[in-house]
């Protein structure tokens, strides 16, 4: 069965600095999709970025980028120029067939 591990329960970053959130996963599948979702205090799940496993190029979305290492089964999220509004829980998710498997989340604090 697939598993997703986020080893950092909490991270802090100074405003305007860069932070990297870690995610590793385990799977025997060769074709799959990975996602990072943001959950602010409102608890709405908001998509941050998506990566298709068959693509070698790392996905980028404005200040958000990933470091996807397929062989190592690692999918970290880098947030550049951190803003106060980035403060939230961040969940890494693996899409297996028709469902998401989520990690336990990393709470990101942004310090002014």
């Amino acid at each position: 069965a697939q598993t997703v591990t986020q080893s950092q329960p909490e991270m802090s970053v100074q405003e305007a600095e860069t932070v990297t959130l870690s995610c590793t996963y385990d799977t025997s599948e060769s074709d799959y999709y990975l996602f990072w979702y943001k959950q602010p205090p409102s608890r709405q799940m908001i998509l941050v970025i998506r990566q298709e496993a068959y693509k070698q190029q790392n996905a980028t979305e404005n200040r958000f980028s990933v470091n996807f290492q397929k062989a190592a089964k690692s999918f970290s999220l880098k947030i550049s120029d951190s803003q106060l509004g980035d403060a939230a829980m961040y969940f890494c998710a693996y899409r297996s067939s028709n469902k998401y498997i989520f990690g336990t989340g990393t709470r990101l604090k942004v310090l002014a």
Partner: protein, 115 residues
């Protein structure tokens, strides 16, 4: 921009009562999902629904749970006899049919409190 909506935002019920959580997925989406998040824990998959039937369900989704798409727009989750441990945030999500990489779009969630 179209979005998934859920009602109610907060439901309080007594243990043993039936509850129905409602969701309106995005109109042209074909796949529908329910997830649950117990406070402070990760989001867990409950069930997926496609072509008017369950396509996959988790161990959590036992006989106390059922889903229905009664009228082509609503997608409901029913818990027949609620238990204290059913207290959680319940998220509905939907996804278009194609392309296959499309992400799931989540609703704002319903907080269920079982007393």
């Amino acid at each position: 921009e179209p979005e998934v909506t859920q009602t109610p935002s907060h439901q309080v019920t007594q243990m043993g009562q039936e509850v129905i959580l409602r969701c309106v997925p995005i109109s042209n989406h074909l796949y529908f999902y329910w997830y649950r998040q117990i406070l402070g824990q990760k989001v867990e998959f409950l069930v997926s629904f496609y072509n008017n039937e369950i396509s996959e369900k988790s161990e959590i989704f036992d006989d106390q749970f059922s889903v229905e798409r009664p009228d082509g727009s609503n997608f409901t989750l029913k818990i027949r006899s609620t238990k204290l441990e059913d207290s959680a945030m319940y998220f509905c999500a939907s996804r278009p049919g194609l392309p296959s990489y499309n992400e799931q779009f989540f609703g704002p969630g319903t907080r269920l409190t079982v007393l």
